[in-house]
């Protein structure tokens, strides 16, 4: 079955795709698990970031940095606004309705501005070519993206596990009322998490644009995959999200290469297996 180089390339692609998914899903996991808000407009931030890349990057390094800065600033601002909206609707079900509405409005605005056609984004100069992997060409940008993605994942891990902000986040996930009793305003904490998560998703949109380019509907796809990853990995767990994202990324790319008709279903199969596994463990633990 091992197909040598072809499989290796697919596996590398899987890593790149998994890291891309992780960058988006980690933020959503923090929203659901730490801030305790139902967020169904997360994919819109990715799509907006991807369009920002198309509009600003033009294959230049300056453009990439400009787009990245715009995405982070805009994402943080939009996230803060979203957090304000979510404060006005405290129940999860209403938050689901509100964010579905935000996603619909967002998709409409993006389509109005950039049209309904899928766009393709060129990576910055010097990263557009390909390198040889055992005699086969492989896009340089994807290799670079793996480095950036791994850097982002490591950075996020450091923030969550090695900083005070991360300690507060993990404490909130465990016992929000106790954190409030220690003087941390829950509202500000929730707003910060939503803002950072939205900025991260928009930044992922910029970086991922040359891989998964902007087109209507991508927001929904990204949201669904993120939800699958968050629930499979356990809401609030960045480590769980990383594992789930890498598994989904790997399985998706492998299936697209080898068994394309099954590819769209496989993330949900992963979700079902993850939940079955967790139920099984719980049952054994409590039995």
């Amino acid at each position: 079955m091992w197909n040598g180089v072809g499989d290796l390339i697919v596996a590398i692609d899987g890593v790149a795709y998994g890291l891309l998914l992780y960058t988006v899903a980690a933020g959503l996991s923090l929203c659901l698990g730490v801030a305790g808000v139902m967020q169904l407009s997360h994919g819109t931030a990715y799509l907006a970031g991807a369009y920002a890349a198309w509009a600003l990057m033009h294959g230049t390094w300056v453009g990439l940095l400009t787009a990245l800065a715009a995405a982070i600033v805009g994402g943080a601002a939009a996230g803060t606004g979203l957090a304000l909206l979510l404060e006005a609707v405290p129940r999860h079900l209403d938050q689901a309705l509100a964010t579905i509405g935000v996603a619909l409005v967002g998709a409409y605005v993006l389509t109005e501005v950039w049209g309904a056609e899928p766009l393709s984004v060129d990576p910055p100069a010097g990263l557009g070519g390909s390198v040889d992997i055992a005699g086969r060409p492989y896009p340089v940008y994807r290799m670079v993206f793996i480095v950036i993605g791994a850097g982002l994942a490591a950075g996020l891990w450091l923030v969550v596990h090695r900083t005070r902000a991360g300690a507060v986040m993990r404490a909130v996930a465990a016992d929000p009322a106790m954190v409030a009793a220690l003087g941390i305003p829950p509202r500000r904490m929730r707003a910060a998490v939503v803002a950072v998560a939205t900025a991260a998703a928009a930044a992922a949109g910029v970086l991922g644009a040359p891989v998964v380019g902007p087109s209507p509907g991508i927001d929904h796809t990204v949201l669904l995959l993120s939800l699958v990853i968050v629930v499979a990995g356990g809401a609030g767990s960045t480590r769980g999200a990383l594992v789930a994202a890498m598994v989904v990324g790997q399985i998706q790319t492998t299936a697209v290469a080898g068994w394309p008709t099954a590819a769209p279903y496989l993330p949900y199969a992963v979700l079902a297996l993850a939940l079955l596994g967790r139920f099984g463990i719980n049952r054994r633990r409590s039995a």
């Binding site: 009793a181 220690l182 003087g183 409590s286 039995a287």
Partner: protein, 475 residues
């Protein structure tokens, strides 16, 4: 000798990281009226849940009338004849009383449900939705629901909680008139209820059975005490109250759960540098009082709470913390997966306030900064919980049962630290069972009984009231 109705062997229950029940063996005879007693957190409710099937044990077996029910789902156990009530009345709120009872009747016969409601004096409320009823009525309705299927075994979790003395009397009447072959397992903090109903008593202590037997025998039995207090030099001389400003001023605090009043107009004034010890039996609302002051428990009018003269109404828990209220809650509520150092930096960057490094107050913590909080010993966890509260530089420190489960030497060490804080001008409120000792050491003791605080109390006197025969061993 016939087999008991319920036979429990080697029952072990774990919830999260905490072992709640350790190898519990218990027999409940047919027709027995059995009380489980023990302090908060002893595992009484968990044992009821394990019998009902709503908590799964890790090990052990539960047999009902010779049949193994250890792995049966709750509804199957119910069909085998286990009925139950909860700490808060468990009813279907949008349904009427009649519908609630009908759904519990075998065969779902409304006319039998109707008769049952009439017989229990709820006839006037047959068409009232359960969530429109008063708390006392809901308690009574829940009992009718639990008895509708004529269970062989009835599990009652604090049936008297939140009831008035008159309501408690009618509850006792109702329970004593149950059919003689109905077995009852009862958890209740009201010793009048326990002694009026129970023939058998089991004492639980930290998830283990300390004693079990006929009520009279258990009362007389020489039980293993926790080490009697050694003589402690009084190190704390309380300052004359009138010389110091009132830091915490609680006036007519009123609150409750699910419509059941817990505190109705409790007032409390604490001056700087004073230690106030709140005594009172389980279920009198000691924790509720502290949580309400800290903002974790919603309060109702006409409550006013002032800290240093500032009204805290309108402030959430975080706002109150910044105003200078710090809570060391019951069960410590540490962030178990975080390290000691991380627990200390959550409230404030750097993890230290103007008091200096809180870890310095507890040298035992200094060497364990990188250890996970959940793996500390009980005493160290308590120290960490206090140290964590101190990082917010409080003016008022609320300690909820801080000495619970600690060895005497550790408790003494904690007490020294607490007096040290009071000497620095902090106002301190402590709840707990060792108030007699605290009184000897200079704390002002107030007694919380049912509906309010009274005191200053003769420390000995309150002990007699709250320490019935069952409370002595596990104080």
């Amino acid at each position: 000798m016939s087999t008991p109705l319920l036979r429990i062997r080697g029952l072990r229950v774990r919830l999260g990281t905490a072992q709640i029940l350790h190898d519990v063996d218990l027999d409940i005879a047919q027709g027995s009226r059995h009380a489980l007693v023990g302090h908060n957190g002893a595992g009484k409710s968990t044992l009821l849940h394990a019998i009902a099937g709503t908590v799964r044990p890790r090990a052990g077996s539960i047999m009902l009338a010779g049949r193994d029910i250890t792995n049966l789902a709750p509804h199957r156990r119910a069909r085998l004849g286990i009925g139950r009530t909860w700490q808060h009345p468990a009813l279907c709120g949008s349904l009427t009383a009649l519908q609630n009872v009908t759904l519990a009747m075998p065969g779902h016969d409304p006319s039998r449900a109707h008769r049952a409601l009439m017989a229990s004096g709820l006839g006037a409320h047959i068409d009232t939705a359960a969530d429109q009823m008063s708390y006392g009525l809901r308690r009574r309705l829940e009992l009718v629901v639990a008895l509708a299927a004529q269970p062989r075994l009835l599990l009652l979790d604090e049936p008297s909680a939140g009831l008035s003395p008159a309501e408690i009397n009618s509850l006792i009447m109702q329970l004593t008139s149950l059919p003689p072959d109905t077995s009852v397992v009862l958890v209740d903090h009201d010793l009048d209820v326990v002694s009026a109903i129970a023939h058998q008593v089991t004492v639980l202590h930290h998830g283990r059975i300390l004693a079990t037997g006929a009520a009279e025998e258990v009362r007389r039995a020489p039980l293993p005490h926790q080490a009697r207090p050694r003589t402690v030099t009084p190190v704390f001389a309380p300052p004359p109250a009138q010389d110091r400003p009132v830091v915490l001023d609680v006036d007519r605090l009123t609150t409750g759960y699910h419509g059941a009043p817990v505190l109705a107009g409790t007032s409390l004034h604490v001056t700087a540098g004073e230690i106030v010890a709140i005594a009172g039996g389980n279920g009198t609302g000691k924790s509720t009082l502290l949580n309400a002051i800290a903002g974790l428990q919603p309060v109702q009018a006409p409550t006013t709470i002032r800290v240093g003269g500032r009204e805290v109404h309108g402030l959430d828990a975080a706002g109150r913390a910044r105003l200078g209220i710090a809570l060391v809650p019951q069960d410590r509520r540490l962030f178990a997966q975080l390290s000691v150092a991380e627990n200390l930096v959550v409230p404030r960057p750097g993890g230290s306030g103007p008091l200096g490094d809180p870890a310095a107050l507890f040298p035992a913590l200094a060497g364990r900064l990188r250890q996970r909080a959940g793996t500390l010993s009980g005493g160290e966890q308590q120290m960490l919980s206090i140290a964590r509260a101190l990082t917010t530089t409080p003016r008022v420190l609320l300690l909820d049962e801080p000495f619970e489960g600690l060895a005497q030497s550790v408790a003494e060490q904690l007490w020294l630290a607490i007096t040290e804080l009071a000497r620095g001008g902090m106002a301190i409120v402590i709840t707990g069972h060792r108030t007699d000792q605290m009184a000897e050491l200079g704390a002002r003791v107030l007694v919380l009984t049912g509906r309010g605080l009274s005191g200053p109390a003769p420390a000995r006197g309150e002990q007699r009231r709250s320490s019935g025969p069952y409370q002595r061993p596990y104080r």
